[in-house]
Symmetry: C2
């Protein structure tokens, strides 16, 4: 695609970056006024702020951050929605539940969570049938994609999670062009279809999210299955934050928010290119979030994308602020473990346990093994030990765990040094 | 409520019945033209019909019926949608899967499945938070209610199926006014909340469906929990077919269809009041269904509802045409078994197995027992044997089955005489 060829979701994506910056910071005081006047939470948090003076990145960086735990505490203090929404509960479209028992409001706007931009960038076009494997129950994930696809004029098959064999039957029959879900579930569908002797060949495009998406998985999808898969990054509170384009150079930031990268825990801006926590300020009239600290790590990429989109790019998800850890002087990011697990066919998931033994850091990589591989444990142990050392740059012991043996709680680095 | 007090979803509900009949049969030739001109299936099925002559119940009854199996065969013959839809797949909103591998199309109209009328009749009003426990995955059930609630201006919590303990936490926190789901799941929520010591008291209204709803369950919800629960009847192909009103006299037929009651298997109209199969003709421009035989049994109630709604009423679901059976000269309907199971606290679900032994019909009622009751098996066997005999009017043996021991496939009467 040539720059300016028109293959963009809207013209906002190709604005002069200076115009975008000006436009966002021109709108920011209005957002702050709205949040202060219509939500109890921000009225209190920003009571000594003059919104009209917050018109630059420096000024924004002086405001306090809000973390997921602050939202949870606000909701516990003033149930059910914590005085966080500018729209009455009775005028919302949906309310969802997130882990930690946070309730996420959804307003009635078309494509409320803004994932249409990410689907479009992944090549999804009007009339494409979308096979959506995110859950619609409790969590907003399923509906985020559902509403976005329908706003593009795409019909959706709401597959949800699980029921793998039935999903394969449905894919064979309906021949959807588009897969949406986690990359690992897409690979599970292909592996299981092969076991069943069913050919599923209709997918041409995929939007994936919810876990690391290493280049090796991307290539396997492209060369084994003919699928162009793009990733995006978002949260249950904020919706879409950034999305990949065909340039494959990091992820482009969405147009409806201001993104900062801050030193975890402090909220102060990092140097350009330095890894830090993603903080977003969201232009959402129903649920304005001012300096919402996501707990996710990334860094800003320099320059502009070759796809022609002019917004700043981030490197993609680089782990959680609360799981990144230092072992024997080396940083270990959950992303590294995630990529290692994804690259090893034998591994379903793994978890790094960090302890202190004889005054030294000790690490054990617990690997949940796919049932297909249980017959080659000794050989597997040796090969995984070598691979892990090369992937992490650290010598570590491997423990093989039966399928289902690791808790599926999203924890990848289990740092027990503080308590042991 | 007084007749004509205005508590109706729309004025169609209180039309002069003669006007409704005239209006439906005035529109019928147009529906037939549309179906013949825009769907391959009805073009073939009705090729020798002159639509302009089909302007009465007698004329309609002369047309061939279409069964679920016909839809399945049409879809297998011409995948994926069988030449049944007048709207191209690329212009639909959703496609769903139903047991038997039937794919149900959903168009983009607001409240496509027409359940808003049933929610309104159950007392649901703008701004009420709806806790929706139907599944959104694969099946249209969840979205049928979701879209209907939002069209009334009600926010929805998409709970889906399962995760009972988490649902109780959510209900405690969000205090929804409205429950939607099966009556048995609502009772499970209350029983489990009591075990957990959590008070859930916010529900005031419920719309229930998907299984029998005996008066005893209705009363328990009303007097123990203060909930006015109303039932409705619909299918994954047709959407809403009939709904209960506060008159509690059967179910009022929806305004967008013509309903006939026919002798199962023949399609010929039964005498007024006689039990037969529900056949619907649906004014749905995306998916016109002409004389769709549902396989569900009911009968027409005489007269008009005291609530002021003037449409014909049906008695509610009386079982499946393919499961109703005759044992020792007596009809046994799945509904009888369902009601018996619902009335016995010890029973989760049960299934009647009918065989031939020594030239005689032999029946065994297999009862899946709630874990709470396993310690009193002998006493339980005696009491269930007596209760079953009184409920079915037939002597039968009882077999107690552990929780989860019966297949959850909707089969209630398992007639093995043909094969044994």
């Amino acid at each position: 695609m040539t720059k300016g060829s028109g293959c963009y979701y809207d013209r906002q994506e190709i604005r002069d970056p200076a115009d975008r910056e000006k436009s966002l910071f021109h709108a920011l005081p209005g957002l702050l006024h709205h949040a202060i006047e219509n939500t109890e939470y921000f009225a209190r948090l920003l009571e000594n702020i003059d919104p009209d003076t917050i018109t630059s990145r420096e000024a924004l960086a002086s405001l306090p951050v809000t973390r997921k735990n602050d939202l949870i505490q606000a909701q516990r203090g003033k149930p059910p929605l914590g005085g966080l929404t500018a729209t009455a509960m009775s005028r919302l479209a949906h309310i969802y539940w997130s882990p930690g028992s946070l309730y996420d409001p959804e307003g009635t706007r078309n494509d409320y969570w803004r994932f249409a931009r990410a689907l479009f960038s992944a090549g999804v076009r009007q009339g494409d049938l979308v096979h959506n494997t995110f859950s619609y129950h409790m969590t907003p994930a399923g509906m985020m994609i559902d509403a976005a696809a329908r706003s593009l004029g795409c019909p959706v098959f709401p597959a949800g999670t699980g029921q793998t064999d039935r999903q394969i039957e449905v894919i064979r029959d309906l021949r959807p062009k588009v897969f949406v879900g986690t990359p690992s579930f897409l690979l599970i569908l292909f592996d299981r279809a092969r076991e069943l002797g069913v050919e599923i060949r209709s997918f041409e495009k995929a939007l994936v999210s919810g876990e690391a998406f290493p280049a090796q998985t991307r290539d396997r999808l492209k060369y084994e299955h003919g699928i162009d898969a793009y990733q995006c990054y978002g949260t249950a509170d904020a919706g879409l934050i950034a999305y990949e384009s065909e340039a494959r150079e990091g992820m482009v930031i969405d147009e409806s928010l201001i993104l900062e990268i801050a030193h975890p825990g402090t909220g102060t801006t990092v140097e350009p290119g330095e890894v830090g926590e993603i903080i977003v300020t969201l232009f959402n009239p129903d649920y304005p979030l001012i300096r919402y600290a996501t707990g996710d790590l990334t860094r800003i990429l320099p320059g502009e994308s070759s796809c022609g989109r002019t917004n700043t790019r981030i490197a993609g998800w680089m782990g959680r602020t609360d799981q990144r850890t230092k072992v024997r002087g080396m940083f270990v990011d959950p992303e590294q473990i995630g990529r290692f697990s994804a690259e090893q066919q034998a591994i379903v998931r793994s978890r790094l346990v960090v302890t202190r033994k004889n005054g030294q850091d000790d690490i054990l990589l617990r690997c949940e093994i796919s049932p297909d591989f249980t017959d080659t444990r000794t050989k597997l142990l040796d090969s995984l030990r070598a691979e892990a050392q090369s992937a992490l740059g650290l010598r570590c012991d491997i423990e093989l765990v039966e399928a289902g043996g690791l808790p599926n709680d999203g924890k990848i680095v289990d740092d027990r040094r503080a308590v042991s």
